[in-house]
Symmetry: C2
Subunit: 213 residues, 2 copies
DNA sequence: CGCTAATCTAGAACAAGTTTCAGACTTGAT
DNA sequence: ATCAAGTCTGAAACTTGTTCTAGATTAGCG
C-alpha cells in the first residue's frame, strides 16, 4: 500500500461538513457524486473494487480533484461510511426498538443494523475494512464515525446523560460490533454467532444500570 | 492496494506448521529469516515499512521465493503475528496471573500482553492492521491466531472445559482486545481507557461463572 | 467587463504489491 | 551418478494508490 499523504494544513480544505470552508453548489454536487460512485463500486466488489481512477471516472471528476476532496482511498471510504451511518441512524430512529430492557433494545438495534449491512455485504466490507485499516491521518474522520455509532447506541438505550461506566460499556459494545462484523465479513463466523456475541456483550449494560436511569 | 492472489490449491505448498508438506532444513531456515526480517522491519516503521522487496533482500531470498512462502504481505504479517503470539504465550505461562477471580486474571493477562506490545508499538501496528485487514484468503491463518488468543485467555481463566456461554464471553473479550488495540494504536484512545475497557469487558466472565468452575 | 486567486482537468510519473519467466540449483529416487 | 520434478534466483512487467505539472475554468471582486 503506497501511502504517505502529506496532509498540508493550509492548502487542503477538504470537504467535511464541519470546520472547513463551505462548499459551493457545484462542489457539493461533486462531493455527492464521488460518494455515490464510491458506494456503488463498493457494493459490487468491496474494498478492492473501489479503485480511485474508476471513482474519478464514474463521478466525472479528475483524479487530482478526487484527491483534493478525499486525500486517500481510506478517507474516501470512511466518509462513505459516515454518509451511510447518517442514513441508517435516520432509518433506525423511525422505528425505535421495542425491548423492555436497555440491553435488549441495544441488541435489537444492532442486529437491525447488521441485517441492513447484510443486504450489501460488499459495501459493508469496504467500509469496515477501511475503518479498521485507517491510520492516524484519518483519526478525526474515524472519531466522527465512532461518535455517530455511540449516538445510535445511546439512543437505543434511551439515555441522555450516561455515566463513565456506561460509556465504557458502550465503547466495548462498539468494539465488539466492529470486530464481530469483520469476523462475519471474512467468513469466520456465522450470523448466529454474531447475534450471540452481540447479546452477550449487551449484558454489560444491565450491569451498569440495573433498574433504569 | 493491488491485490488479487490466486492461491492455487495444488502448487502452493506454503509453510504452515500444519497440513502442508514438511520443509527441508534450508527451507525452514529461509522461512525463519523471512519472519525475522519482517518483524525487524515492522519494529521500525510499522505496516508501511514492511516492504516486500526489502523483506526479500533482508532475508536473502528472491522476491518470487518470498511470495512462494507467503502469498501476500498480509499473509506474511499474520504469520509474523502467529510467531510472536506463540512466543508471548510461552512468556505469559511462566508467570501466571495472580488475581482471585477469573475476570481479574484475564484482565491482568491481557494488560500484561498489552504492555509487551507497547514496547514495540510499530510491530504491534503492523500485525494488528494486517490481521483486521485480512480478507477471506487469509482466513485459516487468522483463525489460527484467534485460536491461539483464545487459548491464552482460557489459560488465564484456568478453564479447561468452557461452556458455550463462556466461549461467547471469550470471543467478545477478543473482539474488544483487538479493537481497543487498534484504537490505541491510531491514537484515538489512551492506555488508561484501554485498561478500563478491558476490565469492563472482563466482567462478563463473572456473569457466566459466578463461583468458579 | 477584466483581473487574480483558487479550483479543475488531463495526463504523465512514481511507489510498492504482485505476477511472470527463463535459467540455475536442489532433492529424491533409481 | 543421473534424471525428472520441484525450488530458487534475478529481473522485468503489470496494477493500482498517490503525486505532480501545465494549462483551462471558475468564482469573487472592483
Amino acid at each position: 500500500m503506497p501511502a504517505q499523504h502529506k496532509v498540508e494544513a493550509s492548502t487542503a480544505r477538504s470537504a467535511a461538513p464541519s470546520g472547513t470552508a463551505p462548499l459551493t453548489e457545484r462542489q457539493e454536487a461533486r462531493r455527492r457524486r464521488i460518494l455515490h460512485a464510491s458506494a456503488q463500486l463498493a457494493s459490487r466488489g468491496g474494498f478492492d473494487a473501489v479503485q480511485m481512477r474508476e471513482v474519478a471516472e464514474s463521478s466525472q471528476v479528475a483524479l487530482g480533484t478526487l484527491y483534493r476532496y478525499f486525500p486517500s482511498k481510506v478517507h474516501l471510504l470512511v466518509a462513505t461510511m459516515q454518509d451511510q451511518l447518517e442514513h441508517m441512524h435516520g432509518t433506525l430512529r423511525k422505528k425505535p426498538p421495542s425491548g423492555d430492557t436497555a440491553a435488549q433494545r441495544v441488541a435489537e438495534t444492532l442486529m437491525r443494523a447488521f441485517r441492513a449491512l447484510q443486504r450489501e455485504p460488499h459495501l459493508a466490507d469496504a467500509m469496515v475494512r477501511a475503518l479498521t485499516f485507517a491510520d492516524r491521518s484519518v483519526s478525526p474522520e474515524v472519531d466522527q464515525v465512532s461518535r455517530q455509532t455511540t449516538a445510535i447506541i445511546l439512543d437505543a438505550m434511551g439515555l441522555a446523560d450516561p455515566t463513565p461506566e456506561q460509556l465504557s460499556a458502550v465503547r466495548v459494545i462498539e468494539h465488539t460490533w466492529h470486530s464481530a462484523l469483520i469476523t462475519w465479513l471474512s467468513g469466520r463466523a456465522s450470523i448466529a454467532q454474531v447475534k450471540i456475541d452481540i447479546e452477550t456483550v449487551c449484558r454489560l449494560i444491565d450491569l451498569t444500570e440495573p433498574s433504569g436511569g
